[in-house]
């Protein structure tokens, strides 16, 4: 079987695309660079929207990226079931593109927060978290100034009752409602989270450990079972 091909999107201002590509390779898949101005998904099996400050975070984080030519292809593909993971700015873009509900606004304390964060995996019924066990506690870095997850009460209730809160903070760093660190769409193929699993892959590199690897091995498991 040939390796799963995972597209890694670069917008102007994306920072974590190299780490994202490395994470994909580390998990045993083939990273495929995708450029924001292209209209071709190059036949990839999944897409990773990495973190950074796309378009300088002008207007709102992710607001302009949402209208990039590539997004015109990605949005219908994601709605049709293509696995898509967005971390940090990628999560913000997925919310602005309405692939995920809610929005990410300035941290309650106004500070930019960069630290190793304890989290609990709340749902393993997504394309990106099946390698974890439900309730598993992990440590994955966060680094963001605008990561406070907000949604109206009705949306929050639907997320909670539908098992779509994927990752929750243990010790809420930014004021996110219901301690939400990541959510999925209804089908579970689209997942967004503020923490950076691609920065927690190897003990050697000084990160908090290897807890992030499961996001990428989950995808491979999903592809094999598909």
């Amino acid at each position: 079987m040939s390796a799963a091909r995972v597209g890694v999107v670069t917008f102007p201002g994306t920072l974590d695309d190299q780490d994202a590509a490395r994470a994909v390779r580390h998990a045993g898949a083939e990273p495929v660079p995708l450029w924001h101005a292209d209209t071709d998904l190059r036949g990839v099996d999944a897409v990773f929207l990495p973190g950074g400050f796309s378009y300088g975070d002008y207007l709102r984080c992710g607001a302009i990226s949402r209208f990039a030519p590539l997004m015109g292809e990605l949005v219908p593909a994601a709605r049709a079931g293509l696995p898509v993971l967005g971390t940090c700015n990628g999560f913000q873009i997925l919310c602005e593109a309405h692939l995920l509900p809610g929005a990410l606004v300035k941290n309650a304390g106004l500070h930019y927060i960069c630290r190793d964060q304890r989290l609990r995996i709340e749902s393993t019924a997504t394309a990106w978290t099946s390698a974890y066990t439900r309730g598993q506690e992990v440590v994955i870095p966060i680094k963001h100034g605008e990561g406070r997850y907000v949604a109206d009460a009705e949306t929050l209730a639907a997320l909670e009752s539908g098992g779509r809160v994927v990752v929750r903070y243990l010790g809420n760093p930014n004021g996110s409602l219901n301690d939400i660190a990541g959510v999925s769409n209804e089908a579970g193929n689209v997942v967004g989270l503020m923490p950076h699993p691609e920065h927690a892959l190897e003990d050697l590199t000084g990160g908090p450990g290897t807890d992030g690897l499961g996001f990428f091995t989950s995808l491979l498991k999903t592809m094999v079972n598909a």
């Binding site: 709102r60 209208f67 602005e96 509900p101 929005a103 606004v105 300035k106 309650a108 004021g175």
Partner: protein, 85 residues
């Protein structure tokens, strides 16, 4: 020629930590009597033609698709400085 103004504000139920920080700074500068501050954005949109109903409908569409995120923000549209043609 006309100018349309779009004001975008966080919805009242969304916490505005920037506005709170400004409110906390005011007493330190000697300003008293302020109970709350909320921060928003103002867009000045120069139109090629008059601000007729069609142009305003377009601007409302711009506001709800790009200038504001309706999940967290409200907006208002008004016309300023309409000049005689």
């Amino acid at each position: 020629m006309a100018r349309a103004i779009v004001d975008v504000m966080l919805k009242p139920e969304i916490l505005d930590p920037q506005g709170q920080a400004i409110a906390r700074a005011l007493p330190r500068l000697g300003f008293s009597g302020v109970s709350a501050v909320r921060q928003g954005k103002r867009f000045e949109i120069e139109l090629d033609g008059p601000a007729d109903e069609a142009a305003l409908a377009d601007i409302r569409k711009m506001a709800e698709t790009l200038l504001a995120n309706p999940v967290i923000e409200d907006f208002t549209v008004r016309v300023e400085g309409e000049t005689a043609e």
